[in-house]
Symmetry: C2
Subunit: 219 residues, 2 copies
């Protein structure tokens, strides 16, 4: 094995995991600010997003250099292509954390709805998927990656359930329309984060097995 | 110049444009079905999305093979990396066209709001950005790509304006809540399509100039 290829891959993996850690923290701050009614924590989301954006550009540049210098093949090439895609997904997850912060700030500016419907449970499930997707990437673990895919339907179902409940709230009391809308948008942000976690899991499956399981194909 | 590299690049460009054409048609059918109240046209969106998904996997596979066989450098390598990213954006645009179809079908199932607020104008602007982004890719045209970036703020502003107007509708008449929500979600779908067009334009700028203009960097 070529040591410089191995070293390049280790460095890229580390940088992507650093980015993944910031993404997890950005989501955590956005959710906790909302659930604990601590609007100052929303600021931290923006700070994490800036770090994510810097790494986003760095990772792409590193991949370009790696491809140009090493001309990797087979599993190494699949790894680099996966990193390019995972990088994009992580950056968009950071954007969604910012969207949760923006919608959450508006939500906290109005009298709160009690309870927060299924938002806490949906957030917990989504955060679990993000963690599991990142773990599957580090450990090159097909079972973990497949579990992420299996969880996506449950998050989608929660989104639909939340939508129906909030619609009922809004129709019953027009004074609750704005807060309900904010929560509907937050549930969509969470759904998109779960989608990105699913994309990452699909990329991990591709790296490890060489199989493209997107669009309903099975492993 | 290496002829087989050139041929590979020509083929990839053609396949991506075919995919881009399907994306444009999927968006067009979804929007026209909504604006002209012709729900049967929503079915065509799903048909186009299937074609897009097939090409999505093919393009990734083609890029992998191209990188493995040709080990391209400099501008050719940047082109392939851009194709990998544009491929992802096009596929997500297809997903958003499907989301417009789903939300549009629900919208048409209720008594319509008149007028459709600024949705037609926002759709027109978004479709223009998609066309311009694809044209900038074919023609390797920095001016066109930069124009796409400049238009994104206007689409975002329309989204916010539509949101405020629909909020007023909903608060004034709870019977309009469901239809208004559908239009709010459609405006978000359009906004995301415009974001993907912006991503494509940024990738074109990177291919042509070698500059990474993402996250607020300038050309």
């Amino acid at each position: 094995m070529d040591r410089s290829i191995d070293q390049g891959i280790v460095k890229l993996r580390e940088k992507l995991l650093l980015m993944g850690g910031y993404v997890e923290k950005a989501i955590e701050e956005a959710i906790q600010a909302l659930l604990e009614n601590q609007p100052t924590r929303f600021e931290k989301v923006h700070a994490y997003e800036s770090k994510i954006n810097v790494l986003h550009k760095e990772v792409d540049e590193d991949c370009l250099k790696f491809l140009a210098i090493q001309s990797p093949l087979a599993a190494d090439l699949r790894f680099i292509l996966a990193v390019i895609k995972i990088n994009t997904d992580l950056e968009r997850m950071g954007d969604q954390a910012v969207n949760i912060a923006l919608n959450g700030k508006e939500y906290l500016g109005h009298p709160p709805l009690k309870p927060l419907i299924d938002i806490p449970r949906m957030a917990e499930q989504t955060q679990f998927m993000v963690k599991e997707a990142l773990d599957s990437f580090v450990q090159r673990d097909l079972a973990l990656a497949t579990d992420v895919l299996d969880r996506d339907d449950a998050v989608d179902a929660m989104k639909s359930q939340i939508f129906r409940e909030l619609l009922t709230y809004m129709m019953g009391d027009p004074k609750k329309i704005e807060q309900s809308l904010n929560l509907i948008l937050i549930s969509r942000n969470l759904e998109r984060i779960a989608d990105h976690a699913t994309n990452i899991a699909e990329d991990v499956i591709f790296v490890v097995s060489g199989k493209d399981v997107r669009h309903g194909a099975r492993l």
